[in-house]
């Protein structure tokens, strides 16, 4: 079921083959082009272009003609405006791509830290089980705490995904076999789910390395252990800080867009420029104005559209957005794999 859930999530954001020119150019799936981002302004420009060309071709009134000729002289001001526009477009495009990569990197680091957490805890569990000085009950408690911590780590990834998508409901099937239903419910109710998971991991860390207190001195604690435990705890603590830092970075990227003044200035002149093309060139190009304008404005607005598409890449249904379902699956699988190896290793040693 978990596999199914991740699969259906992944299928909405498929990978593509960069070597296949046909698929990326001619037969590119429609939803990949993000055309809906720019449909409205593009249609407006097309509408105005067609009207103007019909005007100049069919009605052809004299004053219109001189007005139009007057207009086409202003073409030289285009060079100036367009340079400015070009700088702004390229700047916005680069910003959006850098943001996309920052997000991807944060998720990549979450995978790495999750593996570190899982492996560190599996090694810890093994060491505890091999320690002859610990009572069986204490051993069992620590091992359980290790398992819980790895589970919350996987839940952290899933709940970060949901949080970034702005979906409050947890996908229970993705946490099936990871968290108990009770824990899932508790997590569901919390106002900030990733932070709750982080908080739970810290509590598990407490249970893993400070368990002796439960035993009320019945079992004399060795100094060695304290040194060892604090060393392990501070390592785990670094990994946990790594996780929360990545989640915080993603939260920050989701909450911040480019300053509005940049976007407003860029779009104002982009629109002005696009609307002016038919008026300036209609005299020269004749009927060819209609397709030429359509292509040129799509080329220009499409760049703005691509920047819009990639600015906050957390949507579940957009094909260009981050494949977060896949990253979560990697995290859950890595945790499971490491736990399994831990178990095998353990079984082998017990023989």
């Amino acid at each position: 079921a978990r596999f199914q859930s991740f699969l259906s999530g992944k299928s909405k954001q498929p990978d593509y083959d960069a070597r296949d020119w046909l698929r990326t150019v001619v037969f590119a799936p429609r939803n990949i082009r993000g055309f809906e981002n720019i449909r409205n302004p593009w249609l407006c420009v097309q509408f105005v272009t067609i009207l103007w060309v019909l005007f100049t071709k069919i009605i052809e009134p004299k004053p219109l003609k001189t007005f139009s000729e007057q207009l086409s002289k202003v073409e030289s001001v285009y060079l100036i405006m367009f340079s400015t526009l070009g700088f702004l477009i390229v700047f916005r495009l680069t910003r959006a791509a850098v943001r996309f990569w920052d997000c991807r990197q944060a998720w990549g680091n979450m995978v790495i830290y999750s593996r570190c957490v899982a492996d560190a805890l599996m090694v810890r569990a093994e060491e505890v089980q091999m320690d002859c000085n610990k009572s069986e009950e204490v051993t069992r408690e620590i091992v359980a705490a290790c398992d819980d911590c790895v589970a919350w780590c996987a839940a952290f990834a899933v709940s970060s995904k949901q949080f970034l998508r702005g979906i409050d409901a947890l996908p229970k099937e993705e946490l099936l076999g990871v968290l108990s239903e009770e824990d899932v419910n508790k997590l569901q109710k919390s106002p900030h789910q990733p932070m709750f998971c982080y908080s739970m991991m810290r509590r598990c860390s407490s249970r893993i390395y400070v368990t002796y207190r439960h035993s009320q001195k019945s079992e004399m604690r060795e100094m060695h252990e304290t040194i060892r435990d604090e060393s392990g705890r501070s390592e785990l603590s670094k990994y946990l800080q790594g996780l929360i830092t990545q989640e915080g970075a993603l939260e920050r990227l989701r909450a911040t867009k480019l300053p509005q003044i940049y976007v407003a200035h860029l779009r104002t002149f982009l629109i002005l420029y696009c609307f002016s093309i038919p008026f300036v060139y209609a005299m020269n190009w004749g009927w060819a104005t209609i397709p030429a304008t359509a292509i040129a404005t799509f080329a220009l607005m499409g760049v703005e559209g691509a920047a819009m598409e990639c600015e906050i890449p957390f949507d579940a249904n957009r094909a260009n957005h981050l494949r977060m379902d896949q990253y979560c699956e990697t995290i859950v699988n890595s945790c499971a794999l490491l736990a399994q190896w831990g178990g095998e290793e353990q079984a082998k040693k017990e023989l």
Copy 2:
């Protein structure tokens, strides 16, 4: 009241919807465009343009005409100057945007570190309360110190915000229920408020991890604890250093602009260029010179205006500036949330 105060702060810096072309282009709120940054030079250029066009059109003296024709030949020098100008403008624009993001990142990291501080201290408080070896009085003191430290951490964010805005008066309602009135007054009086909060946090850290000294050996201290405490203290110390580093980075960004030589050179040639447009093109364009110059100069100067707007983005009333009220609210709420979870966890265990 706290909620109200943050809300009124946030409402001055609203988010925008990047998908809504109408709102970002045609109906963009006037204060978003930062037009006042460039109003004076723009109006001057417009004034000169109108005068010159009237001159050439109405009075039309011969010598003026030949002079004007002479001028329009120099157009080819434009290409050279404009390339230079373009490089400078794009450089300045990029610098301003990078600064904006550095500031945003510093605030984002402050949120993350605040959460780390709050969570680490809540876990510490829980562990102390579970420890049967500690006298009740010592336990109470430590828990109080933890709470104080979290409170100063929230106050650190609020006072950093005020400091960056250059406002000396603390917004008391934002710290309501966080700091006692006495502490707010002490903080108000200090010459460098964020540093005072940091200093207080370090004192709390001292009280949390070195309390035993008060007890004058009445309670024999275990070695285990010292090891544990130093490990916890050095973790907390890293988070505190993280906070002060972010605040220092913001202070640095506020205190440093682009070297004046860049700005002076850029603006000198921007102004020269804008003023020369009517003289060079008036012959060719006729009456169209007036709107064409208006649009072209606004396109160019508007980029410089956007750079000015985002260079030091700490103002409370500018719509493009950082939403610092919101970040402070996030910090205060995160601290509250973590403290609440700490309490619940504690209550549950006590049963």
Copy 3:
């Protein structure tokens, strides 16, 4: 045999001499140019160009001529489209190169961390051997664990290389004398080979620093040792985290391409532009259209081809890709060298 295997791998990705213009321009090996990346679209453009030129030259129908003249007027829309295209191409080119360098850097760091691991463990082995308090059996066990850890570290590099190339089969001859055949088989079977090596290194670290538990208190453990061991372990742990972080970064780079919207938009207009060249210029250039179009489209598409070539540089057979065989050899050799020095040093001291 190991040397042979690495050599055959390296020979497919030879270095080049940047000072030799002839070799890099005229006699550049064919496989270096990555021409197959763009062959299909380039041939299409050539085919269309030749057809069109023949049409206009040989058949020369009148309506075609006026249509063609009409087309050549639209040349001015080129300036606009090409600027947009240029920004996208340069952006993609830069991204691909940055990715290439990120990959190279990750491998470079893996070399550095491997050396740190090997040296730290050799020093550890020496110190253990010099310690008179340790029983011979314990000493032998620790030294064996150190050797194992260094071996797994070399295996980590080799298996990362295979994993990144998507090859499941391990090259047994490259691990000859590094891992035992049994270990190679175990590694071969694991679903994620680099992670398995990492996991094994962590287990070795456990055996190196926590061995006392085997002795069931027969040998009273000194406190000094615990402090020393934890310090050594946490250092090793940092190096191991360094290794897994680099591998994770490489995995991330392999799994993520540029958002498809960028690639689709770029290629659509690149293809449109290339196909339009003959139609727009055939009137002017005559027969020269054919070679001119061939060269111009190769110049443009070649940049896209170079970006494709370097985007995911992990193939074993492409001359421009990362020389991963060489890096692995450096790692294996460095480990061997450090182990040898450790042995010599040891031998000298025993005298």
Copy 4:
């Protein structure tokens, strides 16, 4: 006196108001424009321009005219050369600005680390004073060492400033009340003053955390303290490493310019280009050649001048350079402020 000295230093490098167009464009102070950097080549170009225009206008020999006409045809090679030139200029400009910011950042980090050092030591002094197990003499020694360390930290900033400016003489009034006269003299004599301060801070750190050795076991040292001290020491050690790293970065930036080949190539073609303007355009522009050349060459050379100005921004008298006096004052004041709070806190607790 200290205040006076810093003030006179600061007054040479005033801040500017970016919103004030008049001040930054028309009434910009002359020394801000760094005109002396490019005066010589600019005057040469002007001289040649005037001569050539006089030649073509007054003497007007026939062969000169045809030669001149021949020249103006070569204008099209300008496009190629200028693109190359433009790339180099923008590259150099960006490098200089990045260096400027790196320097600023290094100083900003020095402020942050200084605060960390000062606060950590004040907290340490308080804790020592509260510790009932320490003899009064030891307490006094440690507190004195803490004060010394903070003083050397302030001296580190001041001597770094002097070192970067290449001034060997220390400004004694700036260290008034910070270091004793004897220490100032010792510092003055050392061949590398910042490194000497760093070395002194390390010695203070030794005195703060390893004082017990003086007491020759008369006072039995508790284990707790050693753990605590080493933890404190390694924290302090990190801050000190931070300080020396920043100073080293600044030293590196001062010692390294752009590779000379870049500068030589850029300037050669900049000069060639500037000198060729009058020859190519004189026929077209007539008398207007003189002001047009003056403006265009100033625009181009001014960018190179700005890059020169900001490449090594450590001069005390240049208005565009780093306000190092101000940063030193911030460091000295921060140290004083933190020491004062430490004192107050102490006094309060003693009551």
Copy 5:
């Protein structure tokens, strides 16, 4: 002698005065321009140009003329090709410069880490000498190990320099008074000299902090010392890792060039472009074609030449390459200075 050796190394790579236009433009030393990098292709282009111009001017056959006129029409394809070319050139130039700075930064960090190592060890030696609990023999051994470690640290820098230059022979006079002749010989024989130095430093670290084992329990070791020693050792270990990381980064930069596809594509079109200039423009420019082509091709190829020059800046004889002799001297001098201060401090305390 050491001073002499460094001086002769430094004199081949002199600094330059950026304010001196004459020296950097007209009288720039010939070896600074890196002209030999591009001599061959440049001469070819010149040869072809002269031949063609002679052809068109002297022989002037009719068919050649029409062919030439045909050619000059293709000029418009230049715009497209040159944009592509320009992007590639600027990309390559920037990459080379970034590499240059990365190398410089790595050396700068080596200076900083060397100082940290030297100072940390001097403080350690002082503390050991002040410790009354240590036997004189042990003290002497530790102090000797500290001195050895500092010596190997200086040797690390020198051998890194030689390694990067691909010179196997060590400059014995540069290590005079640093290492004993026996050690120099051992170092000379090792296959990877910097790694050997690093390995030796780790062994010294072992001798400094784990000496007690030699004494075979004759001297009861205090716990305090172990804690202190491990803290010191892990600090030293961080500095050593810093050193090896920098060396590894330099090794990586030396071993990796730009992917060959970029260089081959760039150069192919650069050469094509340069060769086509005379054919396209000869009709227009006449005899002026020869100098114009010479200048334009030098401007373009010179940028490629500068990129080649700075790509791997480790040569001893190229004026634009890194002044590694100077950095080594700084490291050796810093070590000597810190050792001397350590001695003085020690002498003073012994009084």
